[in-house]
Subunit: 309 residues, 2 copies
């Protein structure tokens, strides 16, 4: 029996619909729309797509999103100056600096830029102050992808309290905040990673399994307890045909799309997991849309909090 | 066979000995000794003992520790003013506000006070900024008890990479930072708590088991995989004779101390765990002395960083 599909697109749509009256109320009270400043340095093709998506979705939600472009070859100081200008602007509620920054800006560029963002406007939830507040289970801006997953689990009425949760991946932007959010909802949480011994056996203890490692099709049925809820955070672009054939059943309609475009977006979870899991987020259409919806939700929350302050 | 005893007193002594040349070097370069400001509001008997210990140990390490007393009935603003004064003082390197604050100061007093401490002087590692830096595995001031446990494990050459670690307890000052520190040393970490189902079975998966729940003798042999390293963070004062008799073997020399004083300090781990564990921190003489040693280490590190800045 195939797993129930946890529809991220529908949940994201519902989240955005619930934001609409809040955006209207804010606009009325503040005399202006909420505003998000996006800083994009260079021309990374993936970043261009993400940013275009964010601008479009924000606009549809009644949020003014403004793109600040920094030349590829500029020093990191130009990004810092753009952040400082957005920090200072009274009508800017959210600030997002698109990752990755150009390599030439130096290994510590991302950290320097993050540390410069006013935590009250940090809609990605990446600044140390917001991460610390998350650990302490205090109100604050939480990283969009894990926050979106919590929204999805909640809307799909997945029982979290007392559940065993296993998070594969320990990144700052997904794995660690995800583990903390599940912990605060009273799951018993295990964080796994590349050094974990007998990873499939550990993963099989999970009632809720979150895969956030960036390896196409890595999580196979042997990782999954029958009936478990599996959340696939991976967004991997695959252009290797042999790999695509290992990841898709021979009758998959997505093979035609691959033949046409030469690449395919696949998750960290192998499609055959659907035969074992109780519920599963698809890729695409699972976690991805939720991330952008939560970016908008964070922007509205930041705008509201700034109005109260 | 009884477990190897992990001697926290000896490790703490070694940590303090290693600080001595750093204190001397700082004092020479800065023209003054490192300085720690301790703010104590009210007269909680436990706090009085802790603070006395901290003052004494700091003095022995060549650190000037200054006690700022706030009356029990004072408003929280007086604590905030004391913190602001220490933030502003150029010769104050570390600031510590002893918990708990008097109840009359309000439910949000601890949070307000913590948020007021300059993160560069936050030698308890409790401010959101330092907690966030810990999550991001960046240099910063880390909560003393978990930092001390990592020092002990390291000095006792306990293998952490690839080990299964289980932390029982999810407090902001021990459980959560402990889990993060073990994770960054490449353990596979599980955090358990009061809602965890079948806690003994989960605990038995641990190569390294940390008990930080504040319940005397809670961790019994059924929680422990044979040969595991068990770290007992509990410091529980017990005055119930029946409980003491359940916690100590009938021939324990500590029974005489209990008869004399009417109370006894016991850990979260039942002494019979010693028959199953491979290694065990005693109470007293385990984690307790390490916490104070790390407070001094954090003070020296803060002083050094402020001299560089």
């Amino acid at each position: 029996m195939a797993a129930r599909i946890l529809d991220g697109t529908a949940a994201a749509q519902a989240i955005r619909a619930e934001l609409a009256p809040r955006v209207r109320a804010f606009t009325e009270r503040a005399g202006r729309t909420p505003r998000l400043g996006i800083v994009l340095a260079g021309h990374d093709p993936g970043s261009e797509i993400y940013v275009r998506n964010k601008l479009k979705t924000a606009g549809e939600a009644g949020i003014v999103a403004e793109l600040v472009r920094i030349p590829e070859e500029a020093p990191v100081e130009e990004v810092l100056a753009a952040v400082a200008a957005l920090n200072a602007r009274r009508d800017a509620d959210g600030i997002l600096v698109q990752s990755p920054l150009p390599e030439a800006m130096g290994a510590d560029a991302e950290t320097r830029v993050l540390d410069a963002i006013d935590p009250a406007k940090d809609v990605d939830g990446f600044t140390p102050a917001n991460v610390g507040r998350l650990v302490q289970n205090r109100p604050g801006l939480v990283a969009c992808t894990p926050a979106g997953i919590m929204e999805l689990l909640s809307r799909e009425q997945v029982a979290i309290q007392g559940a065993r949760a296993v998070v594969i991946g320990r990144s700052d932007i997904v794995g660690k905040p995800m583990a903390l959010l599940l912990l605060h909802r009273h799951a018993t949480v295990t964080i796994c990673h590349s050094r974990t011994r007998d990873l499939p056996a550990v993963a099989r203890t999970a009632d809720i399994l979150v895969a956030a490692i960036g390896r196409p099709g890595f999580v196979t049925p042997e990782f999954v307890k029958p009936g478990a809820v599996v959340v696939d955070v991976g967004i991997n672009s695959v252009s290797d045909e042999a790999l695509v054939r290992r990841l898709l059943p021979p009758d998959s309609p997505r093979l035609a799309a691959f033949a046409k475009r030469g690449s395919l977006t696949v998750g960290d979870v192998h499609p055959s997991v659907s035969e074992v899991a109780g519920a599963l987020t698809p890729v695409p259409g699972g976690v991805g849309p939720l991330t952008i919806a939560m970016l908008l939700a964070n922007t509205v929350a930041a705008a509201e909090a700034r109005l109260r302050a």
